[in-house]
Structures are given as structure tokens and as C-alpha cells.
Amino acid sequence: MDWNDLLTGSLQQALGPTAAVYCLAAIGLNIHFGYTGLLNFGQAGFMMIAGYAMVTMSTIWGLSLWLGVLLGIVLTIVFALLLGVPTLRLRADYLAIVTIAAAEIIRQVISAAKFSEDLGGQDGLTGFIGPFREVNPFSEPVGIEGVVMWSANDFWVMVIGWGLVAAACLITWLLMRSPWGRVLKSIREDEDAVRSLGKNVYAYKMQSLIIGGMFGALAGLVVTLRSATVGPSFFATDVTFFAYTVLLIGGAARVLGPVAGAVIFYFLITVLDLFFGQATSGANPIIPASIMNDTQASLMRLIFMGLGLMLLMIFRPQGLFGDRRELAIDAR
């Protein structure tokens, strides 16, 4: 067992581009769930729309990625409006089911074989990354010698990703200390009280859905840039659940909660992955192959993640840094 490898590998993932993606998605969910109390289980749908919008702008129409980014943001706003109209008047559990259904509709339509000529079907689309990599200011691998190293392309995505995270955190902080943010929090605590004060709860919820969805869109853009390809497998239902786990580890309704959550989540997940990977590999593995082979080892992190999410929610619903008094997670 190479403990050094285990730690550095995990550190690399914890600070890497994928952690930034889940962090952005979780910041969006923080606006929805943490501050407004909306149970949006369709964050993957927001991510998918933005990712595909950016890529298709370049692959179908041959236009610049920037225009694609713009289109992605506009389309996520449209999606949020479409989703919000039927669902925002519903109780939390209805909202959860409808949003998860909407994300699945998006995924099945985009990945359909019927549109595979334009959208790539199950395989997804590639061949758009050139312009993004051309403006990469880094030409050498970046990192600390002997500890962590990222390729120039990965580091470029990391700079963008964590830069967006910083901007998103700043925006969240500014929004939530404004009167507008206080209305959101009071909607979470008692919707009827807010209504009785003459506030248009529906409009506030819609604005919250749009803003959180836009952070989700940014996550979709970054994940697309990271892998230099876009495909339906990146936006499965489980992605939303992972983002929820990230949010709940750090603590909902905390500006920096998703950041801490993403780093910790990815560190732990990778430690588990590397540990079981090492324990089952080699000629004489620590865990015999009759108990666990390497395919089964790759499942261990998801098994632990499910278990962790349950235990977290049962014993520490406020996460590591949350305030239990602020978060009455109950919508009935």
C-alpha cells in the first residue's frame, strides 16, 4: 500500500477540475435548496443544456464558443422558466419528482438516436475544444514537484473553474446579505408568513430557480471543457445526487459550504477509490480476488458515498460547517 500515492492522488482530485464542476453545481443547489428551500433534483438538466448549447454552437453552426456560452446561459434561463411555471406552486416532494423528471426528459431527448446526426446520440460530441486550448496561457504542466501535478490543459480548466467558483461565491454572498436574500431565506422558513407580508413568493422562487440554474449551467460548461467532449453520461441523475452530497457535506445555506464540500468529497472519494484499487491490484492483493475484484473495487466508493449521505443526513444534516438553527430542513 503506497500511502504517499494515496494522499497525493487524492489531493490532485480534490483540487482538480472535476471538484470545481461539482462545486459550481452545488453552489446552484445551495441557492435553490439551502437558501430558498426548493428541492431541485434536476440540476443535471441545467448542466446538460448549457454544455450541449456551447458545443453545438461550434460543431453545427461553426460559431465561436463564446456565443455558445451565451446561448447556454439563455437556454438555461428558458428552461428554468418552463420548469418553474408548473412546479413552483407545488409542495417540496412534488417539485423534487417533477424536476428529476424534467432532467430525464432533457437527457433522453438529447441522447436520442433520432438526433444523433446533430447531437451525437449516446456517444456525444467532440471536436470543439481547439479554440479553448489555443488561448491556454500555460504550456508546461503546473504543480508542486513531487506532490501534485496537473497537465497544462487540466490546469487551464482549473483556473477557469475555480475562478468561476470564486465569482459565484462572491455573488452568492452579496445576494444573500441583500434584502432580496433575506426574503429567500424567509421563504425557506415560512412561505405563508412571507406571503402575508405582501411579497410575491412565486416570483422570488422563480428568480432563485433561474440564478441557481445559471450556476448549474456554468458547471455544465466547465465539465464539457474539462473532458473536451460532451455526452449524456456526464449528466445522469446521479450527478445531481453527487452535487447534493457535496452541498450537504460542506453545509447548506453557507456561502463557502459547497467549496469545502467539493474538496472534502473529492478527497474522500479518491482516497477510497485508490485504496480499494491498490488493495485489489497486483499479484498478491491484500483483499483476495474471491472477495473483491477490481470492478467491484471501483464500486466501493459509491457504496460508501450512499452510506455517507445517509449517515450525514441522519446525524449531521447541517454538514460540517452549517448552522443547524438556520436550516430547518423540513418542508411539510
Binding site: 407545488l90 433522453q108 431527448v109 449521505l309
Partner: protein, 464 residues
């Protein structure tokens, strides 16, 4: 004391009835031949041959007629084929030879035919009895002066160009099968929601558990026989029902009851159920692997032909069994004291408790019953279409759609919703691409929520 005994005996009688119905239906299934008759393959039948293009300056239409039901496909000789031009004039005829091929030379030189289109048609009356072509005519456009090749695969007997109505009936059969399975899963979910308020995202894993339990029994060494007929899978389905109930009891007593005692919020419990779903799904994959599986029996059964519709015995059995189970379950809820208690708890747990109903006991029984229904649904899903470790997760959204459509927490709503969703998914393929059938059902859910947020049978209370 007297009341308690009577209550127990009545619900016990209902349970016995349910088990008896289950057993009887499964016995019918056992009597059915488990496998398709595979002895029809004639060893002397000629393999389906390829046609070699002719090497002259005329255009020939080369074709072959193969019976694809056999592997490898065999030739179908003696079928008359005609070629018509755009005006409907017959300009060539041929009959397929011993190797299934035919050659029709178009009169005149190649140049004359460029840019024209011809229709090659089979004469269905000359086909051997019991076969139907998948397609009876093909239209060719001649763009290059090469010989043209056409293939006519012959499939099972079935309407070659069925009317929309027959097609709809045929789809409705599949829809009914899916509906009863969906209804069993939805009823369990809705009952659990009704009594505990829990939106259980791990309900799909209860369904998968049933499929896996049946598979476990199927995989046990040896076969289970009664009177010469193998009933291993039937025992498996029954075991799935029982094991599902046990698993539901385990779920409730190990996880959900302690959480209810702690006063954990409903949204928190919903997220716990997501964690449980992830956990169980990956545990299943750990032990069962990721591949699509089938049970050892009822993989290919010969369908019956009823009018123009094909119906396999297993489909009929699933529909009847499902209907019987649903009738039994709803009668239990409607007429027994336990059922009344369940509905009372669903209506108002506090009031139910005040009138002397043991709420926790009712919830425990609902969990056992709901999970048993889910397990049965999973096993039947495995029988009808095969299964893998995430079969339940895949239909979870449709189960939710059914429950929400009918009205969360209502008994009849779940069943009505399941039939709406089940039939809609299949029948919608009349008009839309089959790959969008789930999308259609989920869109239907959103549209119904726009018009009737409380669901079809839900009470119009505030749900905002």
C-alpha cells in the same frame, strides 16, 4: 379480545386468499411450455445464399428471400416476385429458387433506367404457410448502372401492414403488462407515502431486490419440479414476493422507524432515501454484476394468435396475476379492519393514534405489504423483459409519475395513474418514435400537474 381475534382472522383470511390466488396463477404458468418449440429447423433446408451480380450492361434486380427466424437464416423457395415501373406496369417476374434468390433483368439497356424507380413486390399468396414477410414491397431508385440488390426477410406470422387499430390493440397488450407491474410498484410507494409521508427514492431498489431474489432462487443448484413441470422460476417469483416483504420490514425497522422516532424531517428523509438508493444499487451491482440477465425459463415462448393480435401465455399470466394481486391488495385496504386502519393513518396519523390504532404497527405492515408488492413487480418485470442491477431505478421515475398522476398517497390513484402511464408509454409509440416513449409519459406527468396539481384522484387540498 373478541374483536382482536376477529380482526386477525379476517385479515389472515384475506392474506390466505391472496396467497392462494398467487399460487393458482403460478400453477397455470407452470403448465405452459417453458420454451419455444425449436425443432422446426429442417436440417436439409438450404442456407440463405448471396446473389452474385451479373456481369453485363443491363440492370438486373437481384434479390433473396430469407427466413430470419432460423439461425442461420434459411432460403424460402417458390415465392413469386414482380417488378413494376412508376406507372404500375409489370415489367418483370420471377420466382425464388431453391437458394431463395431471384434475378429479374430489366428490359433494355442500363441508360434507359437511370433516374427511374421500380417497385419490387412479393406475392404473399405464394409464401409457405405460416410465414409473413416483414416487408412485402420495396421501391428502388436506379441511380447507377449496377445491378440492384433487394432483401426480403421473412419473419413470424403477423400482420404485415397492420391497421392502426390492430397495432393499437397489440401495443395495448404490452401496455397492460407494463401497467399491472407498474401498478404493483406504485401501490406500494403510494401506501408508504400515505402513511409515513416519505417520498422513497429507494423504492426502485425494492423492485430490483425482487428481481434479484427470484434470480437467486433460479440460480440455486437443481430444479424444482411438480408433476414433471419445472417451476423453478415460479417459485422464484413467489420467493421474490416473500423476500420483498421481509426486506421491507428490514428497511422499516432498521432505518425508517428509528428516524421517525427521532423526528427527522421529511425532506431529510427523502435525501436519506437517495443515499439508500445509491448504496443498495451499488451493492446489487457488487454481487450481481452489471450485465443484463434473464431467468432460465420463459425466455422465448410461442405466442398465441388471437385475431390479429399476438399474446404470449406469460403476458396473459402476468396480466391476470397482477390484476388478482391488485384486487386482493385493494380489497384488503378497502374492506378489512387493517385496511381501514391503514387509511385512517394515511388520513391523519394523530387522530388515528388517538382512536386506539397502533400507528407504528400499521406502518410496519404497510412497509411489508408495499415492499412485497414491489418485489413481485420486480420479479415479473424480470420475467417479461429481463433485468439488471438498476431495473428498478430505471422505472422509478415512471412509478413516481404514476403515483403523482393519480394523486400522491391515494390507493386508487396509484393504480389509475399506473394504467394511464403504462398504456400511454406503449400506445404513444403509434405516433412517436419508441425511444421517446418514456419522455412522453414524463411530459404527460408535467402537463397533468399543470392542470390538476393534486393528481387525477387526489383531493383538492393545498399542496403549494
Amino acid at each position: 379480545m373478541f374483536i382482536a381475534t376477529r380482526r386477525r382472522s379476517r385479515s389472515a383470511a384475506a392474506l390466505v386468499l391472496l396467497v392462494a390466488v398467487l399460487g393458482a396463477l403460478l400453477a397455470i404458468l407452470a403448465a405452459q411450455p417453458a420454451h419455444a418449440d425449436t425443432s422446426t429447423a429442417d436440417d436439409e433446408a438450404v442456407r440463405c445464399a448471396l446473389v452474385k451480380p451479373t456481369d453485363d450492361d443491363t440492370i438486373s434486380i437481384l434479390g433473396r428471400i430469407c427466413d430470419r427466424r432460423e439461425k442461420p437464416p434459411i432460403a424460402v423457395p417458390g415465392v413469386a416476385v414482380t417488378v413494376e415501373d412508376e406507372d404500375g406496369n409489370v415489367i418483370g417476374e420471377a420466382t425464388s429458387g431453391e437458394d431463395g434468390t431471384f434475378v429479374i433483368d430489366l428490359p433494355g439497356t442500363a441508360i434507359e433506367h437511370l433516374g427511374k424507380s421500380y417497385t419490387v413486390a412479393l406475392d404473399e399468396s405464394t409464401l409457405p404457410e405460416g410465414t409473413k414477410p416483414e416487408i412485402t414491397s420495396r421501391t428502388l431508385s436506379i441511380n447507377i448502372d449496377n445491378d440492384q440488390t433487394v432483401l426480403f426477410p421473412i419473419g413470424d406470422v403477423g400482420p404485415s401492414k397492420p391497421s392502426k387499430f390492430t397495432e393499437a390493440l397489440q401495443l395495448a397488450v404490452g401496455g397492460l403488462v407494463f401497467s399491472v407491474i407498474l401498478a404493483m410498484a406504485a401501490l406500494g410507494l403510494s401506501m408508504i407515502f400515505g402513511t409515513t409521508g416519505l417520498t422513497n427514492f429507494a423504492h426502485g431498489e425494492l423492485v430490483t431486490f425482487g428481481a434479484l431474489a427470484a434470480f437467486f432462487v433460479d440460480r440455486l443448484p437443481g430444479r424444482i419440479e411438480v408433476g414433471g413441470a419445472e417451476i423453478t422460476v415460479i417459485v422464484g417469483v413467489f420467493a421474490a414476493f416473500v423476500a420483498g416483504g421481509v426486506f421491507g420490514w428490514l428497511n422499516d425497522s432498521a432505518l425508517w422507524r428509528p428516524l421517525r422516532r427521532r423526528g427527522t424531517g421529511l425532506v431529510a428523509m427523502m435525501i436519506v432515501s437517495i443515499g439508500l438508493s445509491l448504496f443498495l444499487r451499488n451493492i446489487y451491482q457488487y454481487f450481481a454484476g452489471a450485465q443484463q440477465r434473464n431467468y432460465s425459463q420463459y425466455g422465448a415462448v410461442q405466442p398465441w394468435e388471437i385475431g390479429d393480435i399476438l399474446l404470449t401465455p406469460k403476458e396473459l399470466i402476468v396480466i391476470l396475476l397482477g390484476a388478482a394481486v391488485l384486487v386482493a391488495a385493494t380489497s384488503l385496504l378497502q374492506f378489512t379492519r387493517l385496511g381501514k386502519a391503514t387509511r385512517a393513518v394515511a388520513d391523519n396519523p394523530g387522530l388515528a393514534s388517538a382512536t386506539g390504532i397502533n400507528v407504528e404497527r400499521v406502518i410496519g405492515i404497510v412497509w411489508i405489504g408495499g415492499a412485497a408488492l414491489a418485489g413481485l413487480a420486480g420479479a415479473l418485470l424480470g420475467v417479461t423483459q429481463g433485468f439488471d442491477f438498476q431495473i428498478g431505478f430505471r422505472i422509478l421515475l415512471l412509478v413516481f409519475a404514476a403515483v403523482v398522476l393519480g394523486g400522491l398517497g391515494t390507493i386508487w390513484g396509484a393504480i389509475v395513474g399506473a394504467f394511464v402511464i403504462g398504456l400511454f408509454t406503449e400506445l404513444s409509440t403509434l405516433f412517436i418514435d419508441p425511444e421517446f416513449k418514456f419522455v412522453g409519459a414524463l411530459l404527460l406527468l408535467i402537463i397533468i400537474l399543470l392542470i390538476r396539481p393534486q393528481g387525477l384522484l387526489g383531493r383538492a387540498q393545498r399542496i403549494g
